[in-house]
Amino acid sequence: MSLKLTLHTSPDVPLEAPCLNPDTLAGMTADIVAAQKVMHGNQAASVGDFFKVAGKANGTLELEGDLSRVKYIGAGMQSGILNVTGNVGQHLGAGMSGGDIRVDGDAGDWVAPEMRGGRVTITGNAGHLVGGAPRGSAIGMLGGEIIIHGNVRNETGHAMRNGLIAVGGTSGDFTGVNMLAGTIIVLGDMGNRSGAGMQRGSIVSMNPAEMLPTFTHACVYRPEFLRLLLLHIRSAGLPVNDDHIEGAYDRWCGDVVEVNRGEILLLNGA
């Protein structure tokens, strides 16, 4: 039996609980897990003050309830499986380097900031700055994969340096802003100013998007690497269809205000 934590008392203010990851709780009994420290606003508290704990850690951690006020779930995770049934708060999977997080619900802002490896899957929507850099940091996610089945808000992939963000729905404004490298795929519409300040990397969308004047149209072609990426995210459950895989793409290069080595690929509907 895996370790299961069920929310019994909703926090009044954000609860910071970086201990809620399979690595930290490895080998702990339910009593020890319940005694783990968390911060309820500026007050110290314990896991048991908010969660009913059952089972024993075996590499898989199950969380259940509306955790939209619980922050830093899965932070620093290196291995194992973390399943959440319900919404989660900000900074899910912050700095994680391995393992698999799956949220059957929505996620708050800053999903997996400074992520280095592993995978995060959100079946619902996510907030601003998915995979983005925390305020004061110049670099966002460094590796791994973030799969969002629903929509995301602004600044997805802000300053990301590597890795993959795939969005099944739409993205807000400034998708890939200040991106250093890596890949963002948005199957739905993108908002305004995508790729602003990007240096390298790829932003892909299946719908038309307004390009900044600092991007230049290069060609229409069928990039083979994109076939592999799209097949990969289709295997992760995103609604990629054969037209996406077989289609031709407009290639836009930018941002010329930076090194002009980034690209935005838009499915060519012609």
Partner: protein, 295 residues
């Protein structure tokens, strides 16, 4: 020992330890994938003169390839790890990257690997881009019809080269027809190639020569024209033609399976006698006895 009316000589094929890899070539059409595969496997019949042995393993349907385009699977073998990396860079660079619409992928799962795309990327002159997909790095090299996509590294494994069958026939036409039927049957086996022209070699060789500069020379024991001259002729009186089929494989089992399949096919085609080439067992790491393959 016989299979039907075919005499099986009580001898063994002497095979060698090699290093092998599998390359998956895809393209917009199966014809262009095959064009690249043919170019890549050209002049690759024997390590003696070609520095590597390579051949087409099989064609692949679109749903069998990494990018869901038609493809061809190629196996390439050399005698050591260093040279296999060099040969891959040369042949993928000159024969696959040059071929319109192709992409090139590692087709083997093994712990050891050599860097290929990581070398070829420099052709991109700084415009190349890499992508990591499912923990695997690929390089996108700009070319005049779009991009050439190639895996950074190709896995390599210890392999077996030089499995062989000698098909000894009554006449050239009949032996050739039997060889064609034999190679057709053997090509169904996975993990092997037949590196010589359409799988058949007529210039079988022995080790050494009267000329000191040569490491191999004609296998006079099986040359019909030398029956009366060679001191070691191994040909039965009624044999007028010998054709050899050489097999390289990723595993010894695959080579054995191909030889067994070939022996049955050659016997069914009415070949007079089946033998195998060896060097007395003193050179190769593998001895594949024909009698062990009969049953």
């Amino acid at each position: 020992m016989n299979i039907g009316n075919t005499d099986i000589v009580d001898t063994f094929a002497e095979a060698f330890s090699m290093v092998g890899t599998r390359i998956i070539i895809t393209a917009e059409t199966d014809a262009w994938a095959m064009a690249a595969a043919r170019a890549m496997t050209g002049f690759a019949t024997s390590v003696i003169g070609c520095k590597c042995e390579a051949g087409i393993e099989k064609t692949l349907a679109a749903d069998e390839t990494p990018d869901r385009r038609p493809g061809v699977s190629v196996l390439l073998f050399t005698m050591d790890k260093k040279s296999i990396g060099t040969r891959l860079v040369e042949r993928i660079g000159q024969c696959v990257m040059t071929c319109p619409t192709t992409a090139c992928f590692n087709g083997l799962s093994a712990p050891d690997s050599v860097v290929v795309g990581g070398q070829l990327r420099y052709f991109g002159d700084g415009f190349q881009m890499s992508k990591v997909i499912n923990s695997n790095r690929l390089w996108r090299i700009p070319v005049m019809d779009g991009e050439f996509l190639v895996d950074e590294s190709f896995s390599i494994t210890t392999a077996v080269g030089g499995g062989n069958l000698l098909l000894i026939g009554h006449d050239r036409a009949g032996t050739l027809a039997a060889a064609e039927q034999t190679t057709a049957a053997m090509r169904i086996i996975d993990d092997i190639i037949l590196p010589f022209p359409d799988g058949v070699v007529r210039s079988g060789s022995k080790v050494g020569s009267k000329y000191k500069s040569l490491i191999a020379s004609t296998n006079d024991a099986y040359c019909p024209t030398l029956r009366a001259v060679s001191k070691q002729s191994a040909l039965p009186e009624s044999a007028q033609c010998v054709l050899e089929i050489v097999i390289d494989g990723l595993t010894e089992d695959a080579v054995k399976q191909a030889m067994q399949t070939g022996m049955k096919a050659a016997a069914a085609a009415g070949i007079l006698q089946i033998s195998a080439g060896n060097y007395g067992g003193s050179l190769g790491q593998y001895k594949i006895n024909l009698k062990d393959l009969v049953n």
